[in-house]
């Protein structure tokens, strides 16, 4: 069921992406007393991007906990709490800072269920924020999803709209495995239709953000609004783009992607992250392996440059796909 369409039917209000996340946290914390939050400046201050505003007042210090700047240890505390009956939502301020927690995430959380012979899992959500924008430079602008995508045992969620953000965060909190939930810094102030009632999007279900006949464009996170603008422009030129948002990269909704590919027979994958070793390459590999006979043109990947993100704003913007790059990539699959 397309998420946007469902949202329009059930609610009549538009809220920010960050507010949608806040609603999901509130919804899940009210529903399940074992859900609690930990992170830097998330309690009284409400988080750097105001996602946790007001939660301290409703749930108190036991369930909305400020931490020292000690990412590795408070992530580990989350894991320990998760295996002893709680459902922690741990916030890492920037995805860049997850480099400090890699042992806890990769060697501990991701492997715990497996190493214990499947007897106990780690129902923990690691909320973090990444991506390029606003000149935050090389250590606060990365798109690191490929690192997490690579690790068996982790789920990976990257919502692009307020509707998806709320439903997927609820889904992530109810998931029995560790989930890396990456928000995008440029999406927090985007508005969209969100039902005020409780709903959950199960991990592994993608969404068609724009139906189309001619080409399948696969993107996620902040590349979705940009791809939708590009699709709008291309529609004026007679190219009907279908924009597919997997929403969760692990598990990946292969069925939705392949159905679209079999219909359009052309594929463009857009990712903000650097091209080398990215998720786009893996999706391309899956598509050629499972739908090779349907393809009318080589798959195009439109990705970030293989560079750290520069501070200079002009250079920053040419480091990642812009609307015109996406338009060009789509046109490339029609050149025979």
């Amino acid at each position: 069921m397309p998420g946007q369409a469902a949202a329009v039917q059930t609610a009549a209000r538009e809220i920010f992406y960050r507010e949608a996340l806040n609603e999901a946290l509130r919804q899940e914390m009210r529903r399940d007393p074992s859900v609690f939050l930990m992170g830097e400046g998330i309690a009284g201050r409400g988080g750097s991007y105001k996602v946790t505003v007001g939660l301290l007042d409703e749930f108190g210090t036991k369930r909305v906990m400020d931490t020292p700047i000690a990412e590795a240890s408070f992530t580990g505390v989350g894991i320990g709490a998760a295996i002893t009956g709680m459902r922690p939502v741990v916030e890492i301020l920037f995805v860049d800072f997850t480099m400090l927690i890699m042992d806890q995430l990769v060697n501990q959380a991701a492997k715990y269920h497996f190493m214990s012979g499947g007897t106990r899992s780690v129902p923990m959500v690691l909320r973090t924020q990444g991506g390029v924008g606003n000149g935050l430079a090389a250590q606060h602008s990365q798109s690191l999803e490929a690192l997490f995508y690579h690790i068996p045992g982790l789920k990976l969620v990257m919502p692009s709209t307020p509707y998806d953000a709320k439903g997927l965060l609820a889904g992530a909190i109810r998931c029995d495995f560790p989930v890396v939930f990456i928000e995008h810094k440029m999406l927090y102030m985007n508005k969209g239709y969100v039902p005020d009632k409780e709903y959950v999007i199960e991990l592994g279900s993608g969404d068609i953000k724009r139906p189309g006949r001619d080409v399948t464009l696969i993107a996620w996170s902040n590349m979705i609004p940009r791809s939708l603008s590009a699709a709008q422009k291309l529609a004026g030129e007679g190219i009907d783009v279908e924009v597919v948002d997997p929403r969760t990269l692990v598990p990946l909704d292969k069925k939705l992607i392949l159905e679209s590919v079999r219909k359009t027979e052309r594929v463009v994958i857009v990712q903000e992250a650097p091209r080398r070793g990215g998720v786009a390459s893996d999706i391309a590999s899956i598509v050629q392996e499972e739908a090779f006979d349907y393809l009318d043109a080589p798959i195009q990947i439109c990705a970030g440059r293989n560079t750290p993100i520069p501070f200079n704003l002009n250079l920053e913007s040419i480091s990642i796909p812009q609307e015109e790059d996406i338009v060009q990539a789509v046109k490339n699959v029609f050149v025979s």
Binding site: S34, F36, K62, R63, M65, T67, P68, A70, A72, S73, F74, T75, G76, V77, G78, I79, G80, A81, A82, I83, T84, G85, M86, P88, D103, Q104, N107, Q108, Y112, H113, F114, M115, S116, G117, G118, T119, R120, P152, G153, F177
Partner: protein, 319 residues
């Protein structure tokens, strides 16, 4: 004076750990056990003494040298041995092995292949105990080696600011793999690190099971009364190298001989027979009991099946 029954149990636990390690090392030499194997030989008093002070609701997190902790929390030797042999009947269905044994019935949240990797998780278990009003406390077994890793201080600090029911036990065996403690820290009394961040900290003779047990009882009581966290440094020494294939040639002979003369089992036996007036026959009986239990465990493990490829595939579909 500690109750005779408790004293005998302390000895039995230590003798079980000793027997398990020696028998499994034999299996290792025969090629039946593969991978890494870090013996707890010489350090038995710490696991036995600490765990005897715990109750059924308490959690522990363990280390790569974790067989002793697992046994001291009451693990079943059959399932432990099966795990070391990679069998389906093992605690982790043969998927974890020596470095990853977890036994949730004993509150053992797991050994850990990463030095220091389990400390923060232990603090998390303490957080669960406190915020969910669980009755238990969390005991973190860690080491001198781990104490030089950043997550050690980070985690202890979190336990301190949140006043968690956590007992952190540093098993100071004076070697980080092969590096002696003098070369890795300028202050080798590691309990002092706790004092600097406001944690009630002390040192105990890690080869004296009576001392470890008595100090643990006090520490556990404090944790239960909301006076945690507590740091206990137990000084000890390995009886050999870092793992079974490390002859430990870097360990000075005289120092090794000194610690072997203070073998925790010898000290305990002396105390039991001389001070507590336990008969030699009683101890012999305990030993025979343990040995036959271990023989059975080896037989059980050897006869057990391995996880099949189909079972493995099915299980890993979720990842």
């Amino acid at each position: 004076m500690i109750d005779i029954k408790i004293l005998k149990n302390l000895y039995k636990t230590m003798y079980t750990i000793r027997t398990f390690e020696l028998q499994c090392i034999k299996l290792y030499r025969q090629g039946e056990i593969r991978g890494y194997f870090h013996p707890y030989l010489g350090e038995e008093a710490i696991a036995a003494g600490v765990c005897a002070a715990l109750g059924g609701d308490d959690y522990i997190t363990s280390t790569h040298r974790g067989h002793g902790h697992c046994i001291a929390r009451g693990a079943d030797l059959d399932r432990m041995t099966a795990e070391l042999l990679g069998k389906k009947t093992g605690y982790c269905r043969g998927l974890g092995g020596s470095m990853h044994i977890a036994d949730f019935t004993g509150g053992n949240l797991g050994a850990n292949g990463i030095v220091g990797g389990g400390i923060a998780m232990g603090v998390g278990a303490g957080l669960s105990c406190k915020t969910q009003d669980q009755k238990g406390i969390s005991v973190i077994f860690t080491s001198d080696g781990a104490s030089n890793n950043g997550i050690f201080m980070e985690s202890l600090n979190l336990a301190a600011i949140w006043k968690l029911p956590v007992l952190l036990v540093i098993e100071n065996n004076q070697y980080a793999v092969s590096t002696p403690i003098e070369d890795s820290t300028a202050e080798s009394d590691l309990y002092k690190r706790g004092i600097g961040i406001g944690v009630d900290s002390f040192q105990v003779d890690g080869n004296d099971v009576i001392a470890v047990y008595s100090k643990s009882l006090e520490a556990v009581k404090k944790c239960r009364n909301g006076q945690g966290p507590i740091l206990m440094e137990a000084k000890t020494y390995r009886h050999g190298g870092h793992h079974v294939n490390d002859p430990g040639l870097y360990m000075p002979k005289d120092r090794l001989e000194y610690y072997k003369s203070r073998d925790p089992l010898i000290l305990c036996r002396e105390y039991l027979t001389e001070t507590a007036q336990v008969k030699q026959d009683d101890l012999e009986r305990i030993q025979q009991e343990v040995e036959s239990e271990m023989d059975q465990a080896i037989e059980f493990a050897a006869k057990s099946p391995e996880l099949t490829l189909d079972e493995f595939k099915k299980m890993t579909e979720v990842y």
